[in-house]
């Protein structure tokens, strides 16, 4: 739906201040950035993480007492989807060297390197291969590739500053030193990264970067990476098999406490299958579909935090889950596009964030948490948000500035995905600004692991959004595509080597699930909640009242 008459009137205020703002931008005059102290204060006062009731202590398991979002705690304090006694672990449906749970960027990168290291690989994924947050990442992938102005040293500092200096140093070291290698790897696979005619990679700033090192493939960087990795995996069909619509619902350990497989659930036939593996990689991604604090989300349909639940039940600690990343710019208009990610690259390319009077109120390149908190402040305490026809509120993102700064046609050329999408709704974003508000975007933390992607359980590896530590308390843009490629590749190598050299055959068991159930009981947690959730429930409650024959546990029988 195009902008309403009221909104078109308000856009005039944006247009009125635009020439002066463009002039300032051209002169290099930026809205002042906040000092570290001011940032901290802004976060404490306005970031959703600091809101009362935003954190609850987990009452069971290896990270008992750790306070995180209640939406995740509810799933941790829930039973397995299946009775461990009902599963016959001697009936093995699939056997493989390396089992990878999750078919997104991390899982697929891991499949490629595991295969290159001699492993037979099975990928089990909840939706289709590639239906993942990686596919949706738009802005880009960070790497210090230009030695005349940048180096991994500065990338390291930026990552730490974004993460409130809490990041795990070894993980950050690995991220920034592997980064250029990953870009070269992608180039070698034929990823169409955006380049100058002579071949230099184009690069932009992201929030919190001191050098322009965000490489990209137009505004569909994640999709370009994902479809290339997936195509490459499909070129190795003898060694890399894929089971779609088969999420894992439980890890299987062996008598020595090593990870030895998983129980999969075929969403279509409703069967449970036992997979036996020499090593398992958890790469199930994030949890935006839990709609923490009721926020809309940019995440894909399957992002329900399954890997956290499975890994935790098996005994892996959680870390850095106490902060959640809200992306400052989720669409709030039109309604059909609600929650949709508007890439940070718009701000990197020069678009200002503006209030109802067309005034700047924050530098548009603060780290994401600070930027989000500032938007929320402007719309609540300051009261200068822009009201939408559906009763929401947002701030303007002045995309037409980009055409003025970079030349006419720049928005269409640099952001073809968003340009087409908004055009379908009757909005030309090279002429009219977008209305945005913070949206649930990224799980900063997750399963504890090290720079070889090992967890505390032998034979069990983690990579990508499901893991925690590399981004500290807040991830910078362009570092998640990097994360999935860097640690996905490492996990694949580590798991393949483990399968070859350290794997020990043993009797399969689900005793850890029985133990976990007992622990729930002992903590007095009586519930019929089951986890993992698998899929969110968006069905109509009135319809559900009439669905009398099926007892729904969560969303799936």
């Amino acid at each position: 739906m195009p902008y309403t008459r009221e909104l078109k009137e308000l856009i005039k205020r944006v247009e009125a201040t635009r020439p002066a703002r463009v002039e300032r931008k051209r002169r290099g005059e930026e809205f002042p950035v906040l000092s570290l102290k001011e940032r901290e204060e802004r976060l404490r006062k306005y970031h959703p993480d600091f809101k009362e009731g935003s954190r609850t202590e987990i009452r069971v398991g290896p990270s008992k007492g750790y306070a995180i979002s209640p939406e995740i705690v509810n799933l941790l304090e829930a039973k397995s989807r299946v009775d461990p006694d009902a599963i016959d672990l001697t009936k093995v449906a699939y056997e493989t060297d390396v089992l990878i749970l999750g078919g997104g960027g991390a899982g697929t990168a891991a499949a490629l390197t595991a295969q290159e290291n001699g492993a037979k690989v099975l990928i089990a994924t909840k939706l289709r291969h590639g239906d993942a947050n990686t596919m949706m990442a738009e802005g880009g992938i960070q790497a210090a590739t230009k030695g005349t102005k940048d180096s991994p040293y500065y990338h390291y500092l930026d990552v730490l500053g974004g993460g409130h200096f809490k990041n795990v140093p070894e993980l950050v070291y690995t991220l920034v030193t592997e980064a250029p290698k990953v870009i070269a790897w992608l180039e070698g696979l034929g990823c169409m990264l955006t380049k100058f005619p002579e071949g230099q990679l184009k690069a932009l700033h992201g929030g919190g970067t001191c050098r322009k090192r965000m490489h990209y493939a137009a505004d569909i960087t994640g999709a370009e990476i994902m479809r290339t990795l997936r195509d490459e995996a499909r070129n190795r069909p003898e060694d890399i098999k894929v089971l779609e619509f088969c999420p894992a619902v439980e890890l299987i350990l062996n008598e020595y406490g090593h990870c030895a497989g998983a129980v999969l659930y075929n969403l279509e036939t409703e069967e449970y299958f036992v997979v036996k593996a020499k090593a398992v990689i958890m790469a199930t991604g994030g949890s935006g579909r839990l709609h923490i604090q009721g926020f809309m989300t940019t995440n894909h349909y399957g992002a329900t935090g399954d890997g956290l639940i499975l890994g935790y039940r098996a005994g892996v600690k959680l870390c850095f889950l106490h902060t959640v990343q809200y992306h400052p710019t989720g669409a709030v208009f039109p309604e059909q596009a609600e929650g949709l990610l508007i890439t940070e690259k718009f701000r990197g390319a020069g678009a200002n964030a503006l209030n109802i009077d067309g005034e700047q109120f924050v530098n548009e390149r603060e780290p994401r948490d600070v930027e989000s908190a500032s938007f929320i402040r402007e719309c609540t305490e300051v009261g200068k948000g822009v009201p939408t026809p559906t009763g929401k509120v947002g701030v303007w993102l002045d995309s037409p500035m980009i055409d003025i700064l970079m030349g006419e046609g720049a928005v269409k050329r640099e952001f073809p995905g968003k340009y087409i999408l908004f055009k379908r709704f009757g909005i030309d974003i090279s002429k009219e600004p977008m209305l945005v508000y913070p949206t649930l975007h990224y799980q900063n933390g997750g399963l504890e692991y090290n720079s070889r992607c090992e967890t505390s359980i032998p034979g069990f590896f983690a990579a990508g959004e499901v893991s925690g530590g590399v981004h500290g308390e807040n991830r910078l843009m362009g570092n998640s595509l990097l994360d999935v490629c860097v640690f996905g590749r490492i996990a694949g190598v580590s798991a393949a080597l483990y399968a070859k050299e350290r794997f020990q055959e043993g009797r399969l068991t689900l005793d850890h699930v029985r133990r976990y159930h007992r622990e729930l009981e002992e903590a007095g947690i009586i519930t019929d909640r089951v986890a993992p959730m698998l899929l969110p429930d968006y069905s109509n409650p009135k319809v559900r009242e009439r669905q009398l024959t099926t007892r729904y546990l969560g969303t799936i029988r």
């Binding site: 000092s35 939706l127 949706m136 590739t145 730490l160 169409m192 230099q200 990679l201 349909y301 968006y538």
Partner: protein, 246 residues
């Protein structure tokens, strides 16, 4: 009462696989199916118009025209009757990207049916991303890999073109082969990238990074605050004043 009446007025009839449901007029096809009571398993992925999981075809009564769209991006219209195409069988050629060349021979060897194109333009008319599909197939038939890559860049691989092609071509897999050939063999190499990789492997940054890893938080904060920021409007040739850590 008022609210209920308003809600009623806002409802429009749509036909999901021939069955009539009344749904709010502002919903996308995807949300309308959920509203109607469907728990989606297939046919739903990113919900943001990029993964290609929710290809949908529909018609209006009295119209011969087959309309297409992504269910997560298309707003319902009264009386549309629709179905999703959750899966469509496709050909996928297996190749070793290291061993092929960006030529017409590669394309035709991988997908000989490419030459069966009838130039009927149904593929282009079926594309929810408004890609000139027939034009990129024509480019492929000429061996113009660069043009094939460029024209197909926005493809979400939803499969609607393939579902409707009378020549039984799998356009989107030809397109990704073309893009990978372009990215690997035709696009000029990033030389700065190769030299950075070499420097990292030689250990150029090792000591400075190890030192940073051992630095206390207060000093790190100082270093962070003092780091020189590349101006947003700076050109490619910009260099920082302090070159100690390059």
């Amino acid at each position: 009462m008022e609210a209920e009446k308003k809600e009623k007025e806002d409802l429009v009839p749509i036909f999901i696989m021939g069955k009539r449901y009344e749904v709010p007029s502002s919903l996308t096809i995807q949300k309308a199916m959920e509203y109607a009571g469907y728990q989606l398993i297939r046919g739903c992925g990113c919900r943001g118009g990029i993964c290609g999981a929710c290809a949908t075809v529909y018609r209006f009564p009295g119209s011969y025209k087959i309309e297409v769209g992504l269910a997560c991006q298309t707003v319902v219209q009264p009386n549309m009757y629709l179905t999703q195409i959750p899966f469509f069988p496709a050909t996928k050629s297996v190749y070793d990207i290291e061993k092929i060349k960006p030529t017409i021979e590669t394309l035709v060897k991988a997908y000989p049916e490419l030459l069966r194109c009838l130039q009927c333009n149904t593929c282009t008319k079926s594309c929810p991303m408004e890609i000139e599909v027939m034009d990129y197939i024509a480019a492929a038939m000429r061996g113009d890999v660069a043009r094939l890559a460029e024209l197909s860049f926005d493809c979400v691989m939803c499969g609607l073109c393939t579902a409707r092609c009378p020549a039984e071509i799998c356009q989107y897999n030809i397109a990704i082969l073309g893009r990978r050939l372009y990215g690997k063999y035709i696009a000029p190499k990033a030389e700065h990238l190769a030299s950075m990789v070499k420097e990292v492997e030689k250990g150029r940054y090792e000591q400075m990074l190890r030192e940073l890893m051992d630095t206390d938080e207060e000093t790190l904060k100082k270093l962070y605050n003092e780091r020189e920021i590349e101006p947003e409007q700076a050109g490619e040739d910009w260099t920082p004043k302090d070159k100690t850590y390059l």
